[in-house]
Structures are given as C-alpha cells and as structure tokens.
Symmetry: C2
C-alpha cells in the first residue's frame, strides 16, 4: 500500500501539515499506517513524504517509539508525481494508494477493494452524495441528479501492472486521483462501497470530527 502524505506545496512552515497533527497523542499519519498494519501485518507499506519532512518524520517515530515497518519515498510536486515515486518501490501483484489523512477506513473496505482489484483490475471505494448538487456551466448553473454521482474515497486498489502502465503512459500530471490515471489508460474502474467514517482530514472541523471518531472507537473497545 502506497500512503501519500503532503501533496503539492505542503511545506513545513508555520502551520503543521495535517498528517502530523496528533489524535489521541499520536500523529494522524501513524494512525493511518497502523490501520493498514492491523489489517495485514505482512502488507508492504510505502510512505510518500515531501523530502523536507523526512527528518521530522524520523524524529516523530523516535519520539513516539513507533516501529511499524515501512519504506519511504520522496514526494513530488503533485499527487501524480508522489504516487509515481512510491510506485517504484512496489513489489507484489496488487497495490493500493491511500491518503495519509484517512485513518478510519474499515478493514472490510480495504478487503473489498483488494478483492475486486484482484479479479477486475481496478477498484475504488465510494459513498453516496448526501447534498443536492449543482453543476456550473460558465455564467450558468443547473441542478443535477445526485443519485447519479458518488464521492470517491481511498484506498484505490489496482493490479500493479495496470497502475504502472497507466503512470508510464501519460505525460499529464494533473489527475485528481489514481483511478483517473488508470481510467485514462483505458481500464474500467469498479466501485465498491466505502465506509462513512473514512473521512479525509483536511479542515479544522474534520479534525474535530476525527477526535470524536477515535474517541468512540476507544470507548467501544
């Protein structure tokens, strides 16, 4: 599994990148890697981080005495380039790409994505859209039927050869996710059901919600 943290432009400035913010006393990124390790302790974990965050990450691992085995790859200027970097380290027939700030993906979703990719090349977890949607069209906008749309989560899972071929086949680096790269190379994407708690922690409100989710999990143990 390639775990992507800190995409384009994330630099260690005044504000701590989201992946390092602590939840229950531990950086979000550690929770995410632990989720994958708990799912399958044999799974290869490839963490893609901006080069200038590597030292800080090592300090965090030392400070937290944190020893989940993982490989490291230098991130690029875009998500596409970061995943491409991680992809060079991948062994095995199947590979997933997961956001570093999605610690709450369920084991059953991870399993469904890998199982589906094993049989049908490419699979992504999706959830229904709750809100009404409008589509912008120049100066205009129009109501669209939300039931025709799905919101995409990660891990996005693939047969490794298909992901490598897709990344090698294009010069575009502006893809918003990895399924889009594979789709652009002619592969059909299979949809599997995601889990509602599998949020991408990107806003202060998300962070508070993440605190709630992790608190609830701890309490139910």
């Amino acid at each position: 599994m390639i775990i992507v943290a800190g995409g384009s432009g994330s630099r260690m400035g005044a504000e701590l990148p989201k992946q390092f913010i602590e939840l229950k006393g531990k950086p979000i990124l550690m929770h995410t890697l632990e989720t994958m390790h708990d799912f399958d302790a044999q799974m290869q974990l490839i963490l893609v981080l901006p080069e200038d965050q590597m030292d800080f990450w090592e300090q965090l691992c030392y400070k937290h005495e944190w020893r989940v085995p993982h490989d490291l790859a230098n991130g690029g200027a875009t998500r596409f380039l970061s995943v491409k970097s991680g992809l060079e380290l991948v062994g095995g027939d199947l590979v997933g790409v997961h956001d570093g700030v999605r610690p709450f993906v369920s084991h059953s979703v991870i399993r469904s994505c890998f199982d589906t990719a094993a049989g049908q090349v490419a699979a992504v977890p999706v959830v229904p859209i709750i809100q009404s949607l409008r589509r912008l069209n120049g100066e205009n906008n129009v109501a669209v039927d939300r039931s025709e749309f799905r919101a995409v989560q990660t891990p996005q899972c693939f047969q490794t050869h298909a992901l490598k071929s897709a990344f090698a086949a294009t010069d575009r680096t502006d893809f918003s996710d990895d399924a889009s790269v594979v789709e652009a190379n002619g592969i059909k994407i299979q949809l599997v059901e995601g889990n509602a708690e599998n949020i991408k922690i990107t806003t202060p409100l998300d962070l508070e919600l993440a605190g709630l989710i992790i608190g609830r999990r701890t309490n139910s143990n």
Copy 2:
C-alpha cells in the same frame, strides 16, 4: 422563512425524528428557529411539521418554556408538498426555505441569500465539493471534474411571487430542493457562498459533529 422538518415518511415511531433530538439540552429544531429569530426577530417563521408531530412539538415547547413566535403548517408526503403547504402562510415579498436540521447557518449567509434574491429573484448557498466525484452511467462510471460542481445548502431564498408561481406551475412533486422547482419554471438560480458549519444533521456522525460545533460556539462566547 419556511422551516421544513420531517419530510416524506417521517413518523413518530420507535426512533425520534432528527429534528427533535437534543443538542445542549434543546431539540435541534429549536436551535434552527432560534438562529433565524436571532438573525431577525421580525422575520415570519413558518414551521412545517408532519401533522402527527404537532402535539409532540407543542409538548416540547411547553417543557422547554420556549416562546420563539412561529406559525405552523401541516407537512405533506414530499418536501415539495410540505413547502407548498408552508407557502400558503407566507406574507412579504421575499421568502426563504430552510431545512429544520440545519441549525448552524451563519447570519452572513442568510443575509447574502436574501439580498441576492431581492435583486435577482432566486439565490441558494453552495460550498465546494471536497471529494473526487464519479458519475454513474448504467454499468459504467466515469471521473468528473469536481470543480464544476457545488453542494447546495439552505436557506434557499426567493422573491415570493416567483416561488409561488413555480409551485403552482408544476404537477411534479419529486423535486429534491426548492431551487429546482423555481429553475424548472424558467428562473435562473444565483449561487452565494455558504458556510462550512451549515451541515444537515442526518446521520449519527452528523449529530456528533453538531455537538462539537455547538460546544465550540458556547465556549467562544
């Protein structure tokens, strides 16, 4: 402002409808009405409730010694019919329609919606889509550019004559929101910026998030 609570199928069964669940010791619906009353104490508030929830609502008002002035209208089998019912009570040149389970709309968003509707007939608050989107198409699905889409919130605000005309002009009752009804009658919908906290409380996770938001507000006072 028409406040719509408990759309199609909501009945007082084993599970308490969301609008009556308490946040900080008070039903969500009371928070929502208070938000509008705090914005403008002169605003006409029309609460649309399923007929079989009316007694319970009155008991709640009595129990909480809650006296925000409001009119009551019986809800219908769909959102369309509920709004149509509330619309019969509307006085004034402008009208908004707001979800009963959106207590956290900001005053500035309410103001923007009414101001824009006053000049340009119809306005809805929207926020960007954070997640990657895919569109279903029969057996297939395809990545779409999320920057072309917006998620729609409420209040949806209109010149009263336009909303009444639109509701009178159609036999369809399956519209997902009120702007769609007006749009189907040939009126262009204006988009204004919504606020991130203006969530529709529909899932247990939403409810927990709502508890956080209201706690944060209380603490910052």
